[in-house]
């Protein structure tokens, strides 16, 4: 099971996680093209919550009890057994935003570039390390794989 853990005490609020998440979910995956050339910019699936000096990167925590999955009316949100993560299929999504209401962490965002669909962290399962973790300059986002989970928590 893949999890990203946010370390509030070293998050510096630079928002580079948001930027690289957007690049990772862009069409070209090139940072300059993703921001300057693509008409419909991708939605970053991580969001930095900030208040004064306190901040942390918030993305899907892949809950063991995924309310978003339970509440999804179209079957777009599903639990992927193979990766142990909650995934979202925009083809099936009807943009009813029920998942957004159900998510008690506020980790699901709206993608209204074309069809209205939900946007959530997919844990970059195709990458060795998720883009936000790889580019966090202060190690405030930590990737935890299954076997390490207990000791970290």
């Amino acid at each position: 099971m893949r999890r990203v853990i946010a370390k509030e005490e070293v998050c510096i609020g630079c928002r580079l996680c948001e930027i690289w998440c957007q690049v990772q979910h862009s069409d070209t995956k090139d940072i300059i093209k993703a921001f300057k050339k693509e008409d419909k910019q991708a939605v970053p699936r991580v969001h930095v919550e900030e208040e004064g000096a306190r901040s942390f990167g918030l993305q899907c925590r892949n809950c063991e009890e995924p309310y978003c999955v339970y509440s999804c009316i179209s079957g777009a949100m599903y639990y992927d057994e193979e990766t142990g993560t909650v995934q979202h299929d925009p083809e099936k999504c009807v943009g009813c935003w029920t998942c957004i209401m159900a998510c008690h962490r506020g980790a699901i965002l709206r993608d209204e570039r074309g069809e209205r669909v939900a946007a959530k962290c997919d844990m970059c399962t195709e990458l060795e390390v998720p883009a936000c973790v790889a580019h966090c300059p202060n190690e405030a986002l930590i990737l935890v794989e299954d076997d390490q989970e207990e000791e970290t928590e």
């Binding site: 921001f35 000096a53 580019h135 202060n138």
Partner: protein
Amino acid sequence: MLTHLLPEFKIIRDDERCIRCEVCVRQCGFDVHSYDAEEDMLYADENKCVGCQRCAVMCPTNALTIKPHDYEYRPNANWSKEHIRDLNKQAETGGVILTGSGNDKPYRIYWDHLVLNASQVTNPSIDPLREPMELRTYLGRKPDKVEFDNNQVKVDMPAQVMIETPIIFSALSYGAISYQAWKALLEAADEGGTLCNTGEGGWPHELRPGKTRVIAQCASGRFGVDLDYLNSASIVEIKIGQGAKPGIGGHLPGEKVSADVSRTRMIPEGTDAISPAPQHDIYSIEDLSMLIYALKEATHYEKPISVKISAVHNAPAIASGMVRAGADIIALDGLRGGTGAAPKIIRDNVGIPIELALAAVDQRLRNEGIRNQASILVAGGFRNSGDITKAIALGADAVYVGTAALVAMGCTLCQKCYTGICNWGICTQDPYLSKRLNPEIAKRRLVNLIRGWSLEIKEMLGGMGINALESLRGNRLHLRAIGLDQWELDVLGVRGAGD
């Protein structure tokens, strides 16, 4: 009022690369960058830029270049840009110009005029990767003679502190640097088998358990000094002077005295922490002796007592007095030693280079037959393992590194430590900025630095055919000088190259 000051740095933003992510805006503590949403443009106020390079490092597209501004006055060998700038600043404010970091003036750096020896044909060099190589050093007073009883050494050995490598972290006080930076130094010293110096700002209580690789400083302000503080450390150091500001005290502005700093320093929150220029109970060698023995009593004669002075004209005679007063370690801080805040005119003009002070003090103590009675620590602008190895050959027991440790943690020597704003999270108490230094990352980088330098020192020793640092200590025959005058060779006690 119109300021006559021109910006020091030029900010070049490559608009083809800039993606308007505003990381530069968020990362600059000096508010240089701003985003105009209406124009969708980023602007920079160059007058505020200190050239710390934080924005350039953090920019995800490398769109920023920060370089010294190219404005020029009419060329004048006597009146440099810096002279005119400083003079204007004072004409506008009427104040003393403050600065941070170490002397940046082009005084002769003797390390760059000294070269090391290596073995060829007549004696074998040693490969440290295949053969044992000893960097271990013991700090403290050594006995005058060794007696044997049934092949056992029979001697009362005064307190000794072992370090695995002759590289110690200099005095950087909590208050001047952030909690995160201070913690990183403490933990790196522990992991690297060396020592860190608390500086004069005390030692946070929660960071004491299990940590002993510490030199606890007792400076003129006596901040945070109590029995537990002294006895938690391995060495206690009386600070008389600092290389960056000989003869000058310290002044930590009230803004930096946060609740935590106040608790650690044992002073009210928000008050200025003023360290007097002299220690007011030390006006003579006899007074110094009284404090040394007071500290020895307080620590049950279990810890070496160090006395730190800035390298000044009479350093050898003063050092001799310090040893005779009971100091077990002599720390010398040279002309290029760093600071969190000092008057620029003092930093740039007072004191002598550490190379000359070290050679003179070592020679004086040897001439007087008391060199064994104290270890010598030297500080002040050591940049690499070559400088350190040369210092050992000149007679040092170990070397203090402060600026080098800061650079390892991210410092770019922008010299704005005295403002309380540090974009790298090192020299600040602002929680938004200090978070930028992750103590884990900083510790890792510091431990890497110690490891890398130690490996290099071993390589140099091996090349000289030596397998223990002890054999190089004070062995000036392994040094030769290039491009120095006779008087400098005499002071350094080194022969010219080819001689």
